[in-house]
């Protein structure tokens, strides 16, 4: 049985074009970068003693604009940060949240690590994948390693919002909420959950407590 290698970078097995010159640092003056993206990257660089520390935040911002870390996105970040595109490629290909290929608009990360899979995450992933298959431009459904929410297993992170515990019946609404931009499954969001420890709170507190007064 062939073993899939999801972690390998796209194109690793294609021959290199030896005729081509290696890409150098793009000219900042002639590379067209959206003004807002440029500002985000420059702000990020300012926060660190070494500007290269901003690589991940910068690639993240570019991914927001372009949908994935496309050659064009990498070129723009490289121009602002004044590093080679190859350097940024090496970073982008390392991290799971930076996409190396075009993906659907809404990310649905389904945790399939131990605690979630003990509670049925594999069936959940299959159900979500099947339901979203017809709209691959809308959804980027993928299994993800432990998302750090085993208390709501099985769970998923939908555009960064943690929801769980999920059942197969929740799938249609989950996808529908994500596509229409509504809050995803509001009753199942992690943000509204109280701590499990019965000794923690000396009195009854309402759920949603965290949201109040936060700047979100």
């Amino acid at each position: 049985m062939p073993v899939p290698h999801p972690e390998r970078a796209v194109g690793w097995d294609r021959p290199a074009d030896l005729e081509k010159d290696p890409a150098t640092i793009p000219d900042a003056a002639t590379t067209d970068v959206p003004a807002e993206l440029r500002k985000t990257i420059e702000d990020a660089m300012e926060r660190y003693p070494d500007r290269r520390s901003a690589a991940i935040p910068a690639l993240h911002a570019a991914q927001e604009v372009h949908g994935w870390c496309s050659p064009e996105a990498i070129e723009q970040v490289a121009a602002v940060m004044q590093v080679t595109p190859a350097y940024l490629d090496s970073v982008a290909s390392f991290y799971d949240m930076l996409e190396n290929r075009p993906v659907g608009r809404h990310s649905v990360y389904v945790c399939t690590n131990i605690s979630c899979s003990l509670r049925g995450a594999d069936a959940l992933l299959a159900a979500i994948g099947e339901a979203a298959a017809a709209n691959s431009a809308d959804f980027n459904v993928r299994s993800f390693e432990c998302l750090g929410a085993c208390d709501i297993a099985p769970m998923a992170s939908v555009d960064g919002v943690y929801v769980g515990p999920l059942s197969i019946e929740d799938v249609p609404q989950l996808l529908d909420d994500a596509r229409s931009g509504r809050p995803v499954l509001p009753d199942k969001q992690l943000a509204t959950r109280l701590v499990a420890d019965p000794k923690a709170n000396s009195q009854e507190f309402p759920a949603h407590a965290v949201e109040e007064g936060s700047s979100r």
Binding site: V3, P49, I56, L59, I114, L118, R119, S202, R216
Partner: protein, 437 residues
């Protein structure tokens, strides 16, 4: 049982805002610490016996004391990558009480003489990062961060850095490389981060829970804190319980309570009708324990004596209906995916372990493969720059040792059913005809 320190009224509405946090006496410990010299604060940390809550359990006071003296750029990095499977305690702390962490960081930075600090939070924690960012802005505004904090000589900036999804960035040197904007590959140690860490400067790295405990230590005094827990494992610990239990979630316990109390009394034990087959006491990289070990006290040394480790304090309970091969495969596949590929034993060892487990599952393995698999684990342990490979080898090795009978049964059963479904071998003439045509 003691009162909760970190989880005290954690669901109080608006605790994530400065107003509520201050009304509860927040930042009082910082005021007190800033009146002390760095070495006095360090003495309190050492007296407390506080051991790192991220996994290794190294004494925090000792770690701080390893930083060189003198004026130079020193850094403090808070490890909020929390990627050990089964662990979700830091998430709850950062989401609900972000100022506690900020206060702890500023106090620890004062003790270490660091004037630049960073929080490396995993990219998936978007809600928690947003809340922390809002809290940072408030703390900055109120003068708890930045130049000359509260009118003293101590200055400390704090930057929130979001990762982008990589387990290895929870390893301290991998985290540092990632924070420097590179691939998160671990570094050779020594030099240790205390001497050459972030941007080659002396760096103190601690976990969220460790740093969040610092204000309590300053407030109650190190010696008083050391009275909690047991002798070599002082204080309280947040425990994340998940898997086959009825009430999964975070619990604050005093170190040294029997493990049974956590799994059964707090988390409700496995659902009715099922029994515990095995449990991970400290995240998926700790060797598994069985139902026979439920009375082991939950603290660093007792867990080590029982052949496992406390790790990050993440208990994953597995019930008797789960096939051990499936569990082992899940663990191995995770580490294969997350291996950064820098060291050969880990990169190849995780890959081969997955392949061998898949062979067992598909009926192609023989009982001899178990010994080969166990020997692969032995060759990983201690032979890499970091402990990611060990983190797979230890639980897989313990599963083979403790459930060998079940592995052998699985091998036999899978072989038997695979033979039944094997396609008939085509005779030579037909094969030749196909190749020709």
């Amino acid at each position: 049982m003691t009162d909760t320190l970190l989880f005290k009224d954690i669901d109080e509405p608006g605790l994530n805002t400065l107003a509520v946090y201050e009304a509860r006496g927040g930042y009082e410990s910082l005021r007190r610490a800033l009146k002390m010299t760095p070495s006095e604060v360090l003495a309190q940390l050492e007296a407390s016996g506080l051991r790192g809550r991220g996994g290794a359990g190294f004494q925090m006071g000792k770690k701080v004391s390893f930083l060189p003296q003198g004026s130079m750029n020193k850094y403090l990095v808070c490890n909020a990558d929390e990627s050990e499977p089964g662990t979700f305690k830091d998430r709850e702390l950062m989401q609900k009480n972000p100022h506690l962490l900020i206060e702890g960081i500023v106090i620890a930075a004062h003790a270490a003489g660091a004037d630049r600090s960073f929080i490396y939070i995993r990219g998936e924690y978007e809600l928690q990062a947003d809340i922390l960012e809002a809290a940072l802005a408030e703390a900055d505004e109120a003068g708890y961060l930045g130049e000359r904090i509260l009118g003293t000589e101590h200055s400390c900036t704090l930057v929130l850095h979001r990762g982008a999804g990589a387990y290895i960035c929870g390893e301290e040197t991998g985290l540092l490389d990632s924070l420097e904007g590179k691939r998160g590959n671990p570094r050779l140690k020594p030099p240790f981060p205390a001497n050459q860490g972030l941007y080659q400067g002396p760096t103190l790295i601690n976990n969220v829970e460790t740093l969040s405990t610092v204000p309590a230590i300053v407030q109650m005094g190190g010696e008083q804190y050391a009275k909690l827990g047991v002798q070599t494992s002082t204080g309280t610990k947040l425990v994340s319980v998940s898997g086959h239990v009825q009430r999964p979630g975070n619990y604050e316990i005093e170190l040294g309570v029997p493990s049974r109390e956590i799994i059964y009394d707090l988390a409700g034990g496995p659902p009715p009708g099922s029994e515990i087959k095995c449990w991970f006491p400290g995240g998926s990289s700790s060797p598994v324990l069985t139902a026979d070990d439920l009375d082991v006290p939950y603290d660093f040394d007792s867990m080590a004596k029982a052949g496992s480790m406390l790790g990050s304090g993440a208990i994953i309970v597995v019930d008797d209906a789960t096939p051990i091969v499936e569990l082992a495969l899940k663990v191995a596949m995770f580490y294969r995916h997350e291996s950064c590929g820098k060291c050969t034993p880990c990169r190849e060892g995780t890959n081969w372990t997955v392949k061998m487990l898949q062979r067992i599952d598909s009926g192609e393995a023989t009982p001899m493969d178990l010994d080969i698999m166990a020997s692969v684990q032995d060759h990983i342990i201690g032979n890499c720059l970091c402990v990611l490979g060990d983190a797979m080898a230890m639980p897989i090795g313990s599963m083979i040792a403790k459930f060998r009978g079940e592995f052998e049964q699985h091998i036999e059963a899978a072989r038997a059913s695979a033979e039944l479904t094997l396609a008939p071998v085509p005779d030579d003439e037909r094969v030749l005809a196909q190749e020709a045509g």
